[in-house]
């Protein structure tokens, strides 16, 4: 491949809010914790349930480290950037994904805040284009920043003529 062998997509400039880490930890601990607690309870109630302790143990041994480490990885990988011309994000660890949506093609800008996100003062910005598969999502932003970003994007895209297809 010669001298072009080192072409790559540079990481977007901005990290997410640090509180996103706590948000993700909470989510993954709930995801791992619920089956552990459920099988522990079942083991206590059921007379033949000793093997359920093993299930709970296995889930804990495998799940808890993953639940703690994965958000750290995500935090390193998830990045976003808004330039004058485009929204650019990088997500994922095992399946890394870079997405670009040009300003001229953006159709809608949404901000969402789930209950957990509200708890941590976070918000998710979703930018959709005319493509059914072209949406770009930036999770875990400070909610004031998210509102600003959405506002800025809306203003920019309204200035662009055409139906963006």
């Amino acid at each position: 491949m010669g001298d072009t062998a080192t072409v790559r997509l540079r990481p977007p400039r901005n990290r997410l809010d640090r509180r996103a880490l706590r948000w993700w930890w909470t989510k993954s601990l709930v995801a791992v914790g619920v089956p552990i607690v459920a099988s522990l309870l079942a083991a206590m109630v059921s007379p033949v349930g000793t093997w359920l302790y093993w299930v709970a143990g296995a889930v804990a041994v495998v799940g808890l480290p993953v639940a703690l480490l994965l958000p750290l990885w995500w935090y390193r990988v998830h990045r976003w950037e808004i330039t004058e011309d485009a929204v650019y994000t990088r997500t994922g660890f095992f399946w890394q994904e870079w997405r670009v949506a040009p300003m001229s093609r953006i159709q809608t800008v949404d901000t969402q805040r789930g209950p957990l996100e509200q708890l941590f003062g976070l918000a998710t910005v979703t930018v959709t284009t005319a493509s059914a598969k072209g949406a770009v999502t930036i999770p875990g932003l400070d909610h004031r920043l998210a509102a600003q970003v959405a506002e800025q994007l809306t203003r920019t895209t309204q200035a662009t003529p055409g139906d963006a297809t």
Binding site: T6, V7, R10, D85, A86, E97, S131, A132, K133, T165
Partner: protein, 517 residues
């Protein structure tokens, strides 16, 4: 209200006249059609039901139950349709089309005329007998069917043609005759029917045939009889011969059935371009269909070659266009097909005509091969797939059921070459290239797809890389577009080469974010 057969006056120049803006009704004969359809349903359901009842009691009781029930069914269907007809009206105004309908829940749907992108006309056999058709007006929105379309069900053919002309040929005041400018781009060749059996339809129909026979036999309580009769018939033959006989019978039915289906769908197929820049597909033997597609919605074409078709050198062409909403799941997506399976040369010719290019991009493009690491991935997937079948058999065979061991061996011997062949073919089919205004990408084995996408129709890029791809320097690039499937991918291309390619195709997207060390 005016009479149902009174042809409407819908000319563009009379749009301002109050008469063309009045509320109009659907065709009155819809009630007769519904009654007939109800009668058909009553017959189809009545016979098995009657047979079942007669089996339990006597034929006289069966008739006494089934016939009144059928009459009530027909009357109710006709009555409901009559109310529906009374409650439904529509009008075409200078700027919009309105439809009022609903028996219990009234609805008033308005479509802006400038947003109407398609006027599709369908005429099932029963409606054709009355000279009636269904008309579906659609906008180019990527929303669910309900919100973006308006169905007139039914109107006369003359009225449908008028609507089509008026609604699609706006801005061209002289377009009234709607004479095709370029004439037919493609017409049906009976010899294309030979491609029909080379698809999954054939075995499916073959299997369905046996299923239907058994089902019908069961309705009449003859299932055991049919089974023992056919077993008697086959018992005289040696086992291989018997298997062969069943296979041949199934295949024969499948072949005939798939050809019949193809003929029904594509008989008198005609693709033409009209003066206003609309592509129109007309086709159908029993149910006739007319599908219109504005050229400015077109973002490219997809040359589709299912494995069976590819083996005999056939390909079909689908439009990659914005706002082609999948209508209902049972209608599949054939309304975007511009050319049924036809010889590859014909497909390339039609693709060029449709795109207004001297040579089809699917033909002129020089497709670049992907790195050999992509072949390695496909070979590994193939071997894993074989292992997923063989290993469980082997484990069970070794631990519990020794009989399975030869089965596992047989599977390994048969499946491995097949899987490897498919994997190598999958690698060979990978390719991407630029030609003129088009980005072309090809992939797939069982359904090889070659997409030619207009570069300015690309509205975003997505790059994905799994950790396996990262280790081998591969990347998957996906061009997102408002048209067709929404995204078309270049699988497992070399990272540097692929990113350079994406930048060359549409510079302003990934361009600013590339880093060259």
């Amino acid at each position: 209200m005016t009479g149902p057969n009174c042809p409407p006056r819908l000319n563009d120049d009379s749009d301002t006249a109050p008469e063309s803006q009045r509320w109009r009704k659907l065709d009155r004969r819809t009630v007769a059609v519904t009654a007939l359809r109800g009668a058909g349903l009553a017959v189809a359901a009545g016979f098995p039901a009657g047979a079942a009842i007669a089996g339990g009691t006597s034929p006289r009781v069966a008739v006494a139950v089934v016939v009144p029930a059928a009459l009530v069914l027909i009357a109710v269907a006709a009555l409901i349709d009559d109310v529906r007809w009374r409650k439904t009206s529509y009008r075409v105004l200078a700027d919009r089309v309105e439809l009022r309908k609903g028996i219990l829940v009234r609805s008033n749907r308005v479509l802006s005329r400038h947003r109407i992108r398609g006027v599709d006309i369908t005429a099932p056999l029963l409606l054709r007998a009355f000279g009636l058709v269904h008309v579906k007006l659609g906008t180019g929105e990527q929303t669910s069917v309900g919100e973006s379309s308006l169905v007139l069900h039914p109107v006369t053919r003359a009225e449908a043609d008028d609507l089509r002309t008026v609604l699609l040929h706006r801005g061209t005041a002289t377009a009234r005759p709607a004479a095709p400018a370029d004439g037919a781009l493609a017409t049906f060749q009976p010899s294309w029917v030979r491609f029909a059996p080379m698809s999954f339809v054939t075995p499916t129909l073959g299997l369905a045939f046996f299923g239907v026979i058994l089902q019908v036999a069961e309705w009449f309580g003859l299932r055991a009889g049919v089974l023992s009769w056919s077993l008697d018939l086959l018992r005289d033959l040696a086992l291989p011969l018997a298997v062969l006989a069943v296979l041949v019978a199934g295949t024969a039915v499948g072949v005939v059935g798939s050809m019949a289906l193809f003929t029904e769908m594509w008989w008198q197929f005609r693709l033409e371009r009209e003066r206003s820049g609309t592509l129109r597909v007309r086709r159908g033997l029993l149910t006739t269909r007319s599908i219109s597609l504005e050229e400015r919605r077109l973002r490219g074409v997809e040359l589709v070659e299912p494995l069976g078709n590819r083996l005999v050198g056939a390909a079909r062409i689908d439009a990659v266009a914005t706002g082609l909403v999948r209508q209902r799941s049972n209608e599949r997506t054939d309304h975007k097909t511009l050319l049924p399976p036809a010889p590859r040369q014909e497909a390339d010719r039609v693709a060029a005509l449709v795109l207004r290019e001297p040579v089809s991009p699917t033909k002129s493009v020089h497709l670049l091969a992907h790195p050999t690491a992509a072949r390695g991935r496909r070979v590994r997937w193939a071997l894993l797939a074989v292992a997923a079948v063989v290993v469980p058999l082997l484990v069970v065979g070794l631990t519990a059921v020794p009989v399975l061991l030869p089965v596992a061996g047989g599977c390994a011997v048969v499946l491995t070459p097949v899987a490897l062949g498919l994997a190598l073919d999958a690698y060979r089919n990978l390719g991407h290239g630029l030609t003129g205004d088009y980005l072309v990408t090809r992939s797939g084995v069982l359904r090889r797809s070659t997409v030619a996408l207009r570069r300015r129709g690309i509205i975003g890029w997505t790059a994905t890389q799994s950790i396996f791809q990262r280790r081998r320097g591969l990347i998957t690039l996906t061009a997102t577009t408002a048209a067709g499937g929404g995204a078309y991918s270049i699988y497992d291309v070399g990272q540097a080469e692929g990113l350079e390619f994406a930048e060359a195709a549409v510079g302003e997207l990934f361009g600013p974010f590339l880093e060259r060390a």
